[in-house]
């Protein structure tokens, strides 16, 4: 496939209507100097049963993107006019409250990062899972409780009947996360959004939770949008990866292509900066500088101040998402001008 600019219409996934389709999503916040855009022109799709990872560092807009899908953007933030989010063919942004609520929790569910704050400390964990059931179905209290206990067992909690009667503070971090997963999955939604579900957990517990997610995904066929900053988790879980920087998508690719043929200099930089276990105490390769604040983004390409290959066009024109290979796109002029991939001495670290 030749390099074409396919900015507005995300068509990189399988034929047939995707489960989730996001087009030109933007989220703005009022700020001292005007508005700042936490998310700017983000487009992607997720097919049924697919696992997509949204990767980026703090402030890149990945969490805000996830919250937008469920229309949970905290005020004073607002989803911009012109954004389009379609779930199962239905436009989510124009949905009234009632139908939106029937989707949230039932067909699309979210797992949050911090289980301690996302769980209600004054309700038992069993009640919280059962509540999800009762809100969306006509189940009786007893039936909902039964289902909750079963689900708690299904996420690997030993002795679920007893545990269901406990309060969040009585459980460890790993168990609380399992409770959150139980709440998200109890009604077997079609799409689960997990916002850094293992970041706050120990690495051995993280391994258990990721294994659990894989099992549940295989069992229920759900689609998973996994948001993380950990490229190791991405390698383990994703079939497709979307890399974000400064509120924009800068690269998207199938997971193999991303790791073996990363094209965008930011992705390259990230991969080089990851510490790896097999290393021999080498110096880590770094990305010069730091993420610019949303209120002071550079002109043209937002990464150019830190990019080892930046040239004159980068300051003037923000690149579009350009095709590199099947399902692989990058927002970089180097796709069209590969001969410019020459690092300047002061930018390589």
């Amino acid at each position: 496939m030749t390099s074409t600019s396919l900015d507005s219409h995300a068509s990189t996934s399988q034929p047939g209507a995707p489960l989730l389709s996001v087009e030109s999503l933007g989220v703005s916040f009022p700020s001292a100097g005007g508005t700042s855009r936490a998310v700017d022109g983000v487009s992607f799709t997720i097919a049924s049963g697919e696992t997509v990872c949204l990767v980026g560092e703090s402030g890149c807009g990945k969490s805000m993107t996830a919250l937008s899908l469920l229309r949970l953007v905290p005020p004073p933030g607002r989803i911009d006019v012109g954004s389009r989010i379609e779930f199962g063919g239905q436009s989510l942004l124009s949905l009234a409250d009632e139908p939106l609520r029937s989707i949230r929790g039932r067909r699309m569910a979210m797992i949050f990062q911090e289980p301690m704050t996302a769980l209600n400390p004054v309700l038992t964990v069993g009640d919280q899972v059962a509540e999800v059931v009762r809100v969306h179905t006509k189940a009786t209290r007893a039936a909902a409780w039964e289902r909750a206990v079963t689900m708690l067992g299904g996420v690997g909690i030993a002795d679920p009947a007893a545990r269901a009667k406990q309060y969040p503070h009585e459980l460890s971090g790993g168990m609380r996360q399992r409770v959150m997963i139980a709440m998200a999955l109890v009604l077997e939604p079609e799409l689960v959004i997990a916002d850094e579900p293992t970041t706050a957990l120990d690495v051995t517990i993280q391994a258990q939770i990721l294994e659990l997610l894989r099992e549940l995904r295989d069992r229920t066929g759900m689609a998973l949008l996994l948001i993380t900053h950990d490229l190791g988790v991405v390698a383990e879980m994703a079939s497709r990866v979307i890399v974000m920087y400064a509120g924009r998508v800068v690269e998207e690719a199938p997971v193999q292509s991303l790791f073996s043929r990363a094209t965008h200099p930011y992705t390259e930089g990230l991969l080089a900066a990851i510490p790896r276990l097999g290393s021999e105490q080498e110096r880590l390769r770094t990305i010069v500088g730091s993420v610019p604040p949303a209120t002071a983004l550079p002109s043209g390409c937002k990464f150019r101040d830190r990019c080892p290959y930046a040239f004159d066009r980068c300051a003037v024109e923000e690149p579009a998402l350009l095709q590199i290979g099947p399902a692989h796109r990058a927002r970089c002029h180097l796709v069209e001008e590969p001969e410019r991939r020459v690092s300047s001495p002061d930018r390589s670290a």
């Binding site: 703090s58 690495v203 991405v234 390698a235 900066a273 990851i274 021999e280 670290a349």
Partner: protein, 357 residues
């Protein structure tokens, strides 16, 4: 053989638990339970483990920011526990600490320059213009512009605040720094910058580090030797390469295999531990790891004998009576109810290993 710069022997810290109306002591959280290790000049010893293993408490106890319950700490020949008053303060010049939380470790009401200068003033190293000049040099050394000295912490990013914390620790010219999870709260690219900075400073100034972390991959770039902690005890202590190539303690094996590899094609042999770590207020008897241990020779002896930390290979210390060689004889083990003999258990070719170049 030169004496180590820091020697810690049988360090113990128990936090009493108060219960009941009269607040009697009803038990203890055994945060650190008999930890021993040495650190040489210019060396980095990494202390790794998951939350609740006692690594942070160990770091703070060595500096007497938390008073140890038992054990000895010897720094450059001096018994640290015996120090009081002025001599304790003088010791603080030589042993410093960098904290994990870049947002909490700087006083929000003090300018950055004042925070760095504090050590110079308290230890009477410099004052006035001389102190300001030193502060400027330190800021430059950690990669920040000298002008930022008059700004407040909230004006900086996490990575920058960490650099400021490092500058503050360096101001008094220490020989030894406890780095308490210094990069855990930072993004990957920022993490890389700070790790490189710590390495460079170590080389330039000949510093020794006790590098506390839960991220084994970061540690791989910093450490000469690693000590793995679990529930207040060191379960394995080895040079870096040896630990990654042949982790002998089953807990270390599980820890290493749990780290996600940023390579989609990597073999995924995984040792998944069941259950959760028990509470340090109620540690299991004998080997603290035995309830979750996957070693095939595990038996009743493991719950009765506290495994000694033994040198099973040169410089490679492991606390496991079932991993040969062991000084805990078969007879002793049988007396404690053993039904199986020790056997070598290295289940996974660690999937992070690359053949040595």
């Amino acid at each position: 053989m030169t004496a180590p710069l820091l020697r810690v022997e049988n360090l113990t810290k128990h936090f009493p638990i108060h219960g009941g109306m009269l607040r009697r002591v009803t038990g203890a959280v055994r945060a650190v339970d008999g930890v021993s290790f040495d650190i040489g000049a210019g060396e980095t010893l990494a202390l790794v483990g998951e939350s609740g293993c006692g690594k942070t408490t160990t770091g703070r106890t060595i500096l007497r920011l938390v008073e140890p319950t038992a054990g000895s700490i010897t720094f450059d020949g001096t018994d640290i526990r015996a120090l009081r008053g002025e001599s304790l303060r003088r010791m603080r010049r030589r042993m410093q600490i960098v904290f994990q939380d870049p947002y909490g470790s700087l006083n929000p009401r003090m300018t950055v320059g004042a925070a760095i200068r504090e050590g110079l003033i308290v230890h009477r190293i410099a004052e006035g213009a001389e102190a300001d000049a030193r502060v400027a040099r330190l800021l430059d050394e950690v990669g920040l512009r000298a002008e930022v000295a008059s700004r407040y912490p909230h004006e900086f990013s996490g990575g920058q605040r960490q650099r400021i914390g490092i500058a503050r620790a360096l101001a008094v010219e220490p020989a030894f720094i406890v780095c308490d999870e210094p990069v855990s709260a930072l993004d990957v690219s920022v993490q890389a910058q700070v790790v490189n900075l710590l390495r460079d400073l170590q080389r330039q100034r000949g510093l020794s580090y006790l590098f506390i972390a839960h991220d084994l991959a970061v540690v791989a770039h910093m450490a000469d030797r690693l000590a793995v902690m679990y529930l207040g005890r060191i379960v394995e202590l080895a040079p870096r390469r040896a630990l990654f190539a042949s982790p002998l303690m089953p807990y270390t094996q599980a820890l290493l295999s749990a780290v996600p590899v940023p390579d989609p094609g990597a073999k995924r042999g995984r040792l998944l531990l069941q259950g959760e770590p028990p509470s340090p207020a109620n540690p299991p008897s004998g080997c603290v790891f035995h309830p979750r241990c996957p070693h095939p020779a595990k038996d009743a002896a493991c719950s009765r004998i506290v495994p000694p930390l033994e040198e099973k290979a040169p410089g490679h210390w492991v606390a496991c009576i079932k991993q040969p060689p062991t000084t805990v004889s078969d007879a002793v083990q049988r007396d404690a109810g053993a039904t199986r003999s020790p056997e070598r258990y290295l289940p996974l070719f660690s999937h992070h290993n690359h053949p040595a170049p």
